[in-house]
């Protein structure tokens, strides 16, 4: 079994200023995010992505840079920035979650959903019965 490629880079005559990255096993989830980060990069002239065909699980990302800059470097930097951003989101979420749980006094009990749903059924039927009597 051969290992499938993840990434292919197409350039013209090895000129790394303008390159098309073909990423396999990826979709809009990653490609749109990378495009968004690269669009706010001052050294990047043009960035865009496309999904060549919805049946094929791959994306093409096109990056064109300013003078003397490598598109691979910019792409690499964008991915690093995304990791940093995700880290700060993770930290913020953890902190806020702990605060919320403390405030609301949520206990970490494990309740069996079986028992809960049976109790719920019984309560419903009790209400019905009561309604019928009344």
């Amino acid at each position: 079994m051969h290992k499938s490629k993840k990434l292919e880079i197409q350039t013209k005559n090895g000129n790394l200023r303008n390159a098309t990255f073909t990423i396999h096993e990826e979709s809009h989830t990653l490609a749109n995010t990378v495009r968004y980060v690269l669009a706010h990069d001052d050294d990047v002239n043009f960035v865009g992505y496309s999904v060549p065909h919805p049946s094929e699980f791959k994306v093409n990302v096109r990056v064109q840079t300013q003078q003397q800059k490598s598109s691979i470097e910019r792409f690499d930097l964008a991915l690093e920035n995304l990791c940093l951003v995700t880290n700060s989101i993770q930290d913020e979420f953890k902190n806020k979650l702990e605060k919320f749980k403390e405030e609301k006094g949520i206990q970490k009990e494990e309740v069996d959903p079986f028992v809960i749903s049976l109790k719920r059924q019984l309560r419903k039927e009790y209400k019905k019965m009561k309604a019928n009597i009344d």
Binding site: T33, R35, Q67, Q68, L82, Q90, F100, P113, M129
Partner: protein
Amino acid sequence: MSINVGKEKISQVLDGEILEFNPNNFSENFSIEIEKLTKDRMEFVMRGIEAPLANAFRRILLSDIPTIAIETISIKNNTSVIQDEVLAHRLGLIPINVDPKHFQYRPKQPLQKQDKNSRPEISNATEENTLLFNLHVRCLKKTDWEKIKKSRELLLQKQEQNKEMNIEKEEEEEKENKLNVEIESGSESEDEQEESEIDERAKECVEKILTQRAKTLINHRVLSSDLVWVPIGNQQTLFPKGIKPVLPDILIAKLNEGQEIDLECEAVKGTGRDHAKWCPVCTASYRMLPSIKLKRELTKNKSKKLVKTCPMKVFDIEDGLLEIKNSRKCTMCRECLRGDYGVELGLVKNEFYFWIESTGIIPPEELFQQALEIFKEKCVNLKNNLQNFTQKKKEFNENEEEMNYD
């Protein structure tokens, strides 16, 4: 978004604000507020983040978080009205309450030439990647059932030490207990007056509400609680409490007298991208928070009219002044735009109201954290591939031309 053309910079202006993305400043402007958290559902607000990132997390929640669901079944007997494939489809959709971290993906079978004499073997199934469930339900008349019970008791007295008969007795006791579970479960409750009242009345209630059909038949409804876990290998020690579906009362099929369902299920790890049964969320969605602005001052009569026209009661008059009270309740119905009230309606592009409804397998706060982790993994994986690529190219180019930058 900015496009560099020579020295000039053209920036896209969104709603009068220039939204920039700076990874260094990100944590200063970013904040999360958790609004609601139950064991099934989480609602929270994210500020300082934009659509591509928020959408990425939503997509990962739907498609890339693994869970475990029934994939293949071997049917020994199915005399019910439900077709085999429909039954298989329904069984696959039942959420199973087990943490998928303990399991691995089952590798796909390699293509092999099959001889005429060889039997197809499921050789990739091991205790590390498969869960076995058994479903055996037979619908009988109560009177027949009691006869069978009596005859079996007699046989038991005759053959006490026979192992097979003991196993059958356990199966029958399970079926017998199924009826009693609905009535006796009330006795498991805590010491509260209300609950004891409910128990007694519930017993009467349950008996009354059971239909004629149900009175004369047992096991006429096949529920998800009838799925029995069969531990293989060391699974019994890993999961001492047992493995069950998330809810016990999911209706799988209905049987009439004499009909039987007897099958074995294999549950496997997978992701929502493959089939929706592996999706860990009922849904994960977001909406952007509305931004409502009043462009000019209004007369008293007009402000009263405006307060009336809004169906969600977003506007309110306090101290004679018109105020925007509950901007979050706005559903963007645009009723306030119809009259000449000078209302400006829009969406705040960097505030997202997220809600995650879990199926019960993984709690929603853990789901979001897993989604963030998976997103990071994707970025890191791609980064490593990039580095490999540049290294390979360097080795290749050392013998040939240098990489040129124009």
